[in-house]
C-alpha cells in the first residue's frame, strides 16, 4: 500500500469544520474516499478483519496495512 494512497490525518477537536464537511460523528473514523462509494470505518481499527473489509483490500502482510495509516 505504501505510496499507493494518500492519508490525511485531522484532529476533529481542533478542526471541527472538517468533521462537519465529512459528516463525521465518531472518533476515530477512517474515511475511504476513493474509490467510490465512500466508506467510513469507525473505531480504533483494532479489529483488523473489519478494516480489510472496509478498505476492500486483501492483506499480503499485516505490516503493510499499518504503515498505510
Amino acid at each position: 500500500m505504501k505510496g499507493r494512497c494518500d492519508v490525511e490525518i485531522i484532529d476533529v477537536l481542533e478542526n471541527p469544520a472538517a468533521a462537519e464537511e465529512d459528516k463525521i460523528l465518531a472518533t476515530p473514523t477512517l474515511v475511504r474516499k476513493l474509490p467510490e462509494p465512500v466508506r467510513k470505518i469507525i473505531g480504533d481499527l483494532s479489529d483488523l478483519e473489519k478494516v480489510y473489509i472496509g478498505l476492500d483490500v486483501t492483506p499480503s502482510g499485516s505490516s503493510t496495512v499499518r504503515s498505510g495509516q
Binding site: P16, T27, T29, R39, D47
Partner: protein
Amino acid sequence: MTTPKLLKKLETGIAGLDEIANGGLPHGRSTLIAGTAGSGKTVMALQFLYCGITDYDENGVLVTFEETPADMMANVASFGWNLEALVEAGKLAIVDAAPDPSEDIIEAGGHDLAALMARIERAVRKVGAQRVILDAVGALFPQFSDALLVRRELQRILAGLRLLGVTTIINLERTEDEGPVGRFGVEEFVADNVLLVRNRLDMEKRRRTIEILKFRGATHQKGEYPFTIDELDGVTVLPLSATSLQQSSSDLRHSSGVPELDEMCGGGIYRDSIILVSGATGTGKTLMVTEYVKAAITAGQRVLLIGAEESRDQLGRNAKAWGADFDKAEEDGLLKVICRYPEVMGLEDHLLQMKRDIREFKPTRIAVDSLSAFERVSSVKSFREFVIGITGFIKEQQITGLFTNTTSMLIGGESITETHISTITDSIILLRYVELFGEMRRGLTVLKMRGTWHEKEIREYVIDGNGMSIKGPFKGVHGILSGMPTYSFTTEAERMETMFNIERGSS
C-alpha cells in the same frame, strides 16, 4: 439571609406553551419532548428555534439525526419559516448528523462520539446560540451497534451543552401514546424536564395534546392540554383550564332585539355577558339570533355571526324575511357572517379559527348558531374545553355573546350543551313548546341572569311576520319546563262545562 434563587425560565414563543409551563422552559437545561410519529414534536422544536431567532433575538442550532436539513427546511416552509435565510444570516447553524444511505459504515474497534460533540460546540460558538434542538435522537441508535455507548455519549453531549449555557430540546420518538416515556432509555438521563405530545384518534378526528410530565425544580401546569398545528401560527397550545377568571365587567346594557325580553331582563343584557338561548327545533332560536344581530346593527355595533347549521345565503334570506338586511350590513362593515360546518375540522381548530375571526373583525357582539352543532364532532371533554375556551376569550375581549342550543326533545329535556355551559353563561333563556289543550304554544322564560333582577314568569310568545313578540305569562299552568304541564285553573269546572256542554252548574 438571601432568598433562594428561582430557576430561570426561557420563553419559547410558542403560543400557549409558556402559559402552561408557567413562563417557559427551564433556562440553560435540556427538555425532552417525547411523542409518537406525527405527534408534532419536530414542528414544536423548530418553532422554539425559529421564534427564538425572530422574536427574542436568540440564535439557534439545529442538530438533525433523522431527516436531512434540506427536507426539514422544505417541511416547515409551509409555515412561512425561511430557515435557509436564517442560516445565511448567521443566526442559525445546522449540524447534519442524519445517516447517509449511500455511505457504508463499518465498526472496527473502540470509538466515541467526540466528533459530534465538537461539531455541535463549533456550531453553538459560530452563531452564538442560546437554543439548541436535537431531532430526533432515537435515529442515532441504529447507526451504532453499541446502544450503551450512544447513551453515554449523548449524556456527555448534554452535559457539554449545559456547560455552554444553552437551553436544549431533545426529541425522542415513542412507539405508543401511553406507557414508557421513550425508547433506548434516553429518558433516564434527560429526565429533568419531560414533555409528552400525543396524537390520539378521538371520534374519528385526531386530537393533539401536550402534557408537561415534569420540570425539575420548577413549577408548571399539570395534565394534558390540546394543541393544534396550522399554517398560520404553527403550534398553538390551548391552555383552556389555565384561563383565569380575571375579566372586568361593566354595567352597560345592550338590547336583545326583542323589547319585551329586554324588559324581562331588567333593561337589556349586560355588555360582557354570555347568553344561552336553549330550545327545541323550530322554537325560534335563529329568529332570536336575527333579532339580536338586527339590534346590534341598528345601534351601529359590529357583530360577528357564526353559523354552523345553515349557509350564508340561507341565513341572509331568512333574515330578510324578518326585516334584517344582512347583505347591506356586511357592505357597511357592521356585520360579518361566517358559515362553517362543524365537521370540517377538529374543535381545537374551530376555536383557533374563531379567535382569529374575532381578533380580525373586532366585533362588539358575537352570535353562534348553534353551539350545540359542535357537539356532534367531538367527545364531551373536548366540547367542554371548546366552550370554556370560546366563552373565556369572548369575556376577555368584553364582547357580548349569544349562543343557541338545540335540545333534542321537543318538550322539556336538556342537552349536553346545557349541562356543560350553563355554569359558564351569565344568562339562560329557555324557549319551550307548551302543549295546552291540544295546541302547540310557545313559552319563554329567563332562567337565570347574573347580577340583575329578571322576570321569573314563563311567558307566551308568538312568531309572526314581524318577528317575535312576547305576550303575557301562562297563568294557571305548571310543569311546563318538565314537559308535563298540568292545569290548575280555578275556572276548570266552568271550562269543562263549556267543553262538553253538560249541565253541572246547578248540581
